[in-house]
């Protein structure tokens, strides 16, 4: 298994689960992000993801390294899909494993938050009433994204 992968293939959560298991793991947490139909009153028809693939995979590896520093012994694997995704399809799977559950939960949550900060992947919503690139919003500040480790 590739541990950090960004491509157009449908995702297989169990492959990541099997990847992070070993004899001294007591807890595995999987996060699976799926395409949701309704956001408030807005209806999504499909999502389109685009990535700067080589950098995105490198950033996923960096996030896993950050996790190893913060939660020693914790393993992380992340696959992110790109291209056009229908409602209910999986966009991202994050698997974390550790001896104890607190580390696996915290590391997993950390991974998704960091993905949303530093991994160059962009989502375009295809609403029933138009399309929109997400993320280019007023919260953004120029320069280094929040929390980038140097």
């Amino acid at each position: 298994m590739n541990w950090y992968q960004v491509n157009e293939h449908p995702l297989d959560p169990m492959a990541l689960y099997e990847g992070v298991r070993h004899r001294n793991v007591g807890a595995v947490v999987l996060f699976i992000g799926t395409v949701r139909e309704m956001t408030g009153e807005k209806q999504t028809e499909l999502l389109e993801y685009e990535a700067y693939v080589p950098m995105a995979e490198k950033m996923l590896q960096q996030i896993a390294d950050e996790i190893t520093m913060r939660w020693p012994g914790t393993l992380t694997a992340v696959h992110h899909r790109i291209g056009r995704l229908d409602i209910m399809e999986e966009a991202v799977v994050i698997a974390t494993s550790s001896a104890h559950r607190a580390d696996a939960y915290e590391a997993n949550r950390y991974a998704i938050e960091r993905i949303k900060e530093i991994v160059p992947i962009w989502k375009r919503e295809h609403w029933t009433d138009g399309t929109e690139w997400m993320g280019d919003q007023k919260e953004q500040r120029p320069g280094r994204p929040k929390g980038v480790m140097t």
Partner: protein, 75 residues
């Protein structure tokens, strides 16, 4: 020469996925140039040089690859 890669709304507004610029050049100048080319919100873009995030003062050299990175929205 440097190659500048474009993604998402930047690629759409420029109608291209890449263009070239003459080096050396700072990211600050690349940012200003993007505004001149008609990219919206260029003051909020991020930049990566050879797949690492860099800030406005960074000087890009011949052969480097720059990526213009709108706010990410993966996950």
């Amino acid at each position: 020469m440097i190659e500048v890669l474009c993604f998402a709304h930047v690629a759409e507004e420029l109608k291209t996925r890449s263009y070239t610029m003459t080096a050396p050049i700072t990211i600050a100048v690349l940012r200003t140039d993007l505004t001149a080319r008609g990219v919206t919100g260029a003051e909020r873009l991020m930049f990566a040089v050879n797949e690492r995030y860099e800030t406005d003062a960074y000087v890009v050299h011949d052969g480097d690859t720059v990526a213009v990175i709108p706010m990410v929205s993966g996950g």
